[in-house]
Amino acid sequence: MDRSVNLLDLALGFDEPSPLRGKVVLIEDCVETSGSFVLHQMMKRVLSPHSSDALIFLAFARPFSHYDRVLRKLGCNLSTQKTNNRLVFVDMLMMKCSDGDDNVSGVAKLFREIQGTVRKLGNVTNRNITVMVDDMSLLEIAATNSNSDHVLDFLHYCHTLTCESNCSLVTLNHEDIYSSMERPAYLLQMVCLADIVIKAEPLASGLANDVHGQLTVVNKGMISSKSGKGSSRNKLQNFQFRIKENGIEYFYPGCSRS
């Protein structure tokens, strides 16, 4: 087995070229266990030197320098990718201020921007474009003060990109923000849209030194128009992880090496 492919990659189907083409991935995490490392790992996968795939990154949570530092530890230089036109980093930290009162058109404007970038990047043949959002709850806060509908509209439009240009859409969201709600429509809608849901949570059995949490990957794999692809439909996988200095170790429960 290829040593560079870990359990999460296998669960996502990275043993084949561009498995996420036209798919929507939702990463759900909570305060106790952040899921951003999954996002970092997927960034690294998309920007791997073996492919020509491109990434559009909407950063609501952190500045570029943060991702640059993290990805450098994982062995991927974001600045070089930026100059190679494989990474388009959209700094959204200031979106709230620049937007003014007309929030709806703000989201629409953002989408048009993404659409334009997708068209520009899509010139290279056999290139898969991934749109990543870190994270959705901050987009919700930035775009609207009370109504999450505009963000859902935005999400819907991003979903059209997956059909139209075969883009992948990867989003991160925090589940516990909605834990007090009876029916968190926003979160449920995102889960419904997603083909793959990855959930990062603390160990059910409590804190442990050598295990930092567990990941559950649900591959809903909607009925696809491309025949024969994606044998992992309706699969649910569960494994644990340990965050190390420059990488993540994944293992099945009870199989930790340390």
Binding site: D149, Y157, C163, C192, T216, V218, M222, I223, S224
Partner: protein
């Protein structure tokens, strides 16, 4: 049973009657309404093409998937749709429902094209007339009828209120040229009253229920998704028909979803339930259940508290001589002679016991020592 839904949709309603309507209900744990819609779509299309259906055309209103997805799907099923096809029209409410994308044309595009773009989803009156126009374009103004399929009303409900949406659906049902209508709904996304209202205006309801129903209701729809384990993709498919006489009939089947789509099979009664529960038991190193042989042997064991002499009634000694005892031992035990005789003959001992009084119940709750003066 899924066939009977399909037949009802194919045959449509009688003239002057409301068209039969089907709600396909899914949840977050069993998100397979799309598979059911695709199944119905493929069947309806082939029956329309074969001329077996009462309707002669199909208007597909897409909200959750792009038109190309459906056309590709039909192609996979061997139904080729070209732009000159006279039996299908797609109303595209997916690509640009709010008019965000800059394009020269506004609103519904003109011309007899296969796919029409609708850019204003919240205007339901316009949506209604576009559906009817698209249908008329295929079958003409006369009495010929067509079917309508809406792939997800969730998007509609997000943009307009529930009364408006149910109004639109009722308008479509009561239109003379609409022969049948179906739509799908994710029940987790909306209030229960929305689900109930849409169920009420439909003649059939198809419900996808996962094998492991949630223990605490709908609140933890998300957590249930992660608890589904290996049963994700399998479950029960319930259909409720409202018959014309006013009776209601409920039928159930099992579904299993794989790469090719949804597969329905009759419920294999108890076996499947046992199989389902067996698979729920975690794999451990010891046996939680008995094998058949062990079970038979276990049943043979007579427990000590059970009466072992067959044919005799169960007796529990309460300290009194029973009637039967009285007959066999006619000699009064109080006779001293007999006692001495027995003792002297060395035949064995005997315990002689006289109850103090017959009033006292042998198992009375009274403390027997409460009159002690210590």
């Amino acid at each position: 049973m899924a066939d009977s839904i399909f037949r009802k949709l194919r045959d449509g309603g009688e003239e002057g009657e409301l068209a039969p309507a089907l709600t396909i209900e899914e949840t977050v744990v069993s998100p397979f309404a799309l598979d059911v819609s695709c199944y119905l779509l493929a069947n309806l299309s082939s029956s329309i093409l074969a001329g077996k259906s009462k309707s002669e055309g199909l208007v597909l209103v897409t909200f959750s998937r792009s038109p190309s997805f459906y056309l590709q799907f039909l192609k996979q099923k061997g139904i080729v749709v070209s732009s000159s096809s006279k039996w299908i029209r797609v109303l595209d409410c997916y690509t640009d429902p709010l008019g965000w994308i800059d394009q020269p044309s506004t609103g519904v595009t003109e011309g007899p094209s296969l796919v029409k773009l609708n850019k204003c989803v919240s205007d339901l009156k316009r949506l209604f007339s576009s559906v009817i126009d698209a249908g008329r374009e295929m079958v003409g103004d006369g009495k010929t009828r067509f079917s309508v399929a809406i792939d997800s009303v969730n998007e509609l409900l997000r943009h307009s209120s529930m009364p408006l949406v149910s109004g639109l659906l009722t308008d479509l049902r009561s239109h003379a040229q609409v022969s049948s209508l179906f739509w799908s709904l994710n029940t987790d996304l909306h209030q229960e009253k929305v689900t109930n209202a849409l169920e009420y205006i439909s003649t059939m309801k198809a419900n996808l229920e996962p094998f492991c129903p949630s223990p605490d209701g709908k609140r933890n729809a998300l957590e249930n998704l992660f608890l589904a384990h290996q049963d994700f993709g399998k479950g029960r498919f319930h259909v409720r028909f409202k018959l014309r006489k006013g009776r209601v009939r409920v039928m159930s089947e099992e579904y299993h979803v794989d790469q090719t789509g949804i597969n329905l099979s009759p419920i294999s009664s108890a076996e499947s339930v046992i199989a389902a529960t067996k698979s729920l038991i975690p794999k451990v190193h010891f046996n939680l259940q008995l094998s058949e042989k062990e079970r038979v042997e276990k049943e043979k064991v007579v427990l000590p508290f059970e009466h072992q002499d067959h044919g005799k009634s169960t007796e529990i000694y309460d300290g009194r001589r029973t009637l039967a005892d009285g007959k066999t031992e006619a000699t009064p035990l109080s006779s001293g002679e007999l006692q001495a005789d027995v003792v002297s003959s060395g035949k064995g001992g005997e315990i002689i016991y006289f109850r103090d009084s017959d009033d006292e119940h042998p198992d009375s709750d009274e403390d027997p020592d409460d009159d002690l003066d210590i």
